[in-house]
């Protein structure tokens, strides 16, 4: 039986979904599912019950996303900071997670669950991996760049989230996907997570749609700047190369162009080699983890 709640949208929900889908739709949404404990307090139930309701709400939300054609969702289930909570609460959360997520493996969409995660650790790890790559001779120090760092993050197989939704009225990121959401639409909604509705999701998507062209423009501008900086660095490197060989730095434009092309092709080769080695390293680590816990 599918864990993602069975059931289609109601007629009215389907009608509104079709209207929203006429506009630009996000491909990837990230959720900070905040408010489980406040919900439990409000309904006068145990915290564990609040978390359980939160998981149920996640299942429901995934169904809505599927119906809206949003095939990738990332959620912040558990932060490294959450280990500060009481042992009983932490154990309860981990048990619940184990239960619910095993069922998820049968589904046909991507759900990324950030567990024992903070963004700063993720970024630091990516920088360490790049340093490892240079140490191993797989990379040149000049290969260290924003796009390479991006490819070293745990989320490197996913596009950056289009929307980051945080519930319960808090207006901060709490160390979640800080790098990936720099140009995402941030939606802060006051509703508590276990009370999240289809209409809240629609509201968030409408907000994304209103921001869409401005965000796209800003992202494109940023990407252009990155390309320009990289080109400048490459030009400087080629100039240095030519001068070292005793040639005219600004002489033959054809030669410069060839050298530039060669430089970036070689870099691409190194980066691909490094990323393959990194994948292998991570796969081996996961395998070792699997056998260690078996």
């Amino acid at each position: 039986m599918s864990w993602i709640k069975e059931g289609e949208l109601s007629l009215w929900e389907r009608f509104c979904a079709n209207i929203i889908k006429a506009g630009p739709m996000p491909k990837h949404i990230a959720f900070i599912m905040d408010g489980n404990r406040r919900y439990a307090k409000k309904c006068q139930v145990e915290r564990q019950e609040g978390h359980s309701q939160g998981f149920n709400k996640l299942a429901e939300t995934l169904r809505w996303c599927l119906n809206l054609g949003i095939l990738e969702v990332t959620v912040y289930a558990f932060s490294i900071e959450n280990f500060k909570r009481s042992k009983s609460e932490v154990d309860g959360l981990l048990d619940l997670a184990r239960q619910k997520f095993t069922c998820l493996l049968e589904e046909q969409c991507f759900l990324n669950v950030c567990f024992a995660y903070t963004s700063r650790h993720e970024i630091t790890n990516a920088v360490r991996e790049m340093a490892w790559g240079v140490e191993q001779g797989l990379l040149d120090p000049s290969d260290i760049s924003e796009s390479l760092l991006d490819k070293c993050l745990y989320t490197n197989h996913s596009p950056h989230p289009d929307i980051l939704i945080r519930t319960s009225g808090e207006v901060r990121l709490s160390d979640f996907l800080l790098w990936q959401t720099s140009h995402s639409c941030l939606v802060f909604q006051p509703v508590l997570w276990p009370e999240y509705t289809f209409w809240n999701l629609c509201e968030a998507i409408l907000q994304f749609q209103m921001n869409h062209s401005m965000l796209q423009k800003a992202r494109d501008m940023y990407a252009e700047e990155l390309k320009r900086h990289q080109l400048e660095r490459d030009q400087a490197a080629v100039t240095k190369q030519l001068l070292r060989e005793g040639l005219q730095a600004s002489g033959d434009t054809q030669l410069r162009r060839t050298r530039l092309h060669k430089l970036s092709a070689r870099r691409e080769e190194r980066v691909q080699g490094f990323l393959q080695a990194l994948e292998l390293k991570r796969a081996n680590w996961l395998a070792r983890l699997g056998t260690a816990s078996a």
């Binding site: 929203i20 630091t124 340093a131 160390d175 720099s182």
Partner: protein, 293 residues
């Protein structure tokens, strides 16, 4: 049927987008009318009260900056405190004040207003905020850094009656950190996207230098070490970001440093009233950070 949905969607957005612009516009317009109303009220009150021997205390500011003031009616007795002392008292009245405030300007098409930003910066200083960062994703403020600093000095004089140029003769002209000005107890920093992700990459390259010099190994790097390698080392992380403008995004503002930052949105940086500014501070003071617990 798809055509119908598309039509309804266009109508919906046609209603929602102008609604956001209208709210912004009303804020600007209302701000102006509110200023006009306050001037008339003051003039009328002065006309009525003068014969009775009361006087209204005129603030030192001139021009459009006047509307950012509150002008309480002064009764007999000692003259009321200068606005800057009252603003300082307002700041102290909050349970907590941000140590570092980020001002993120996301203007859609038009150029940001330097004088409006300067007046917000000066209000931050007046209320007692020690560090203020100003950011826009196109780097406009950074490229026109001296123009912004001049505007801030001017507003300080007008709004606070302080001549800060004589407090920091060397600093303001210093060459190594010329996007940072020490002005009468507050530090103002002007930032752009190169201080965000690009700075993390620069720190990664610096770390690599340490590895090649065999001062460190790749595996030595942890969160604290990377934090210390960033340009923001020595500065606190922003507690609060006031985000001005229509875009619901930080647009690359210091991604590393904003992990616990409260993000409060205001529709525009133009003609922000003191009340709106202060209510954002109050919102920040009221929030509780559980830090994972």
């Amino acid at each position: 049927m798809t055509g119908l949905y598309e039509l309804v969607w266009r109508v919906l957005h046609a209603l929602l987008c102008p609604h956001r612009r209208l709210t912004s516009w009303l804020r600007v317009r209302f701000g102006t009318w509110s200023w006009i109303w306050r001037r008339c009220y003051r003039a009328a009150s002065a006309a009525v009260l003068a014969p009775l021997g009361f006087t209204l205390r005129e603030p030192a500011a001139v021009g459009r900056n006047r509307r950012h003031h509150r002008h309480p009616l002064q009764g007999p007795g000692p003259a009321a405190a200068h606005p800057r002392l009252r603003w300082r008292a307002d700041g102290r009245s909050l349970e907590k004040l941000p140590v570092l405030m980020g001002l993120v300007i996301t203007a859609d098409e038009q150029e940001p207003s330097f004088s409006d930003i300067a007046s917000i910066v000066v209000r931050c200083m007046a209320v007692g905020i020690s560090y203020i960062s100003v950011y826009d994703h196109q780097g406009i403020f950074k490229r026109n850094n001296s123009r912004l600093m001049d505007e801030i000095l001017k507003q300080q004089q007008e709004l606070l009656g302080l001549d800060c140029s004589k407090y920091s003769p060397g600093f303001a002209n210093s060459n190594d950190k010329d996007d940072q000005v020490l002005n009468c107890h507050s530090i103002v920093k002007v930032l752009s996207p190169e201080d965000g992700k690009a700075d993390i990459v620069r720190a990664a390259q610096d770390f690599w230098q340490l590895v090649t010099q065999q001062q460190k190994r790749a595996t030595d790097l942890d969160v604290d070490m990377l934090d210390r390698l960033l340009s923001s080392n020595g500065f606190p992380d922003p507690d609060l970001v006031l985000k001005f403008g229509p875009v619901d995004s930080t647009l690359g503002f210091l991604p590393w440093q904003i992990r616990l930052t409260e993000i409060v949105s205001l529709p525009s940086h133009l003609n922000i009233s003191y009340e709106d500014f202060f209510s954002a501070l109050r919102q920040h003071a009221a929030c509780e950070q559980r830090l994972g617990k």
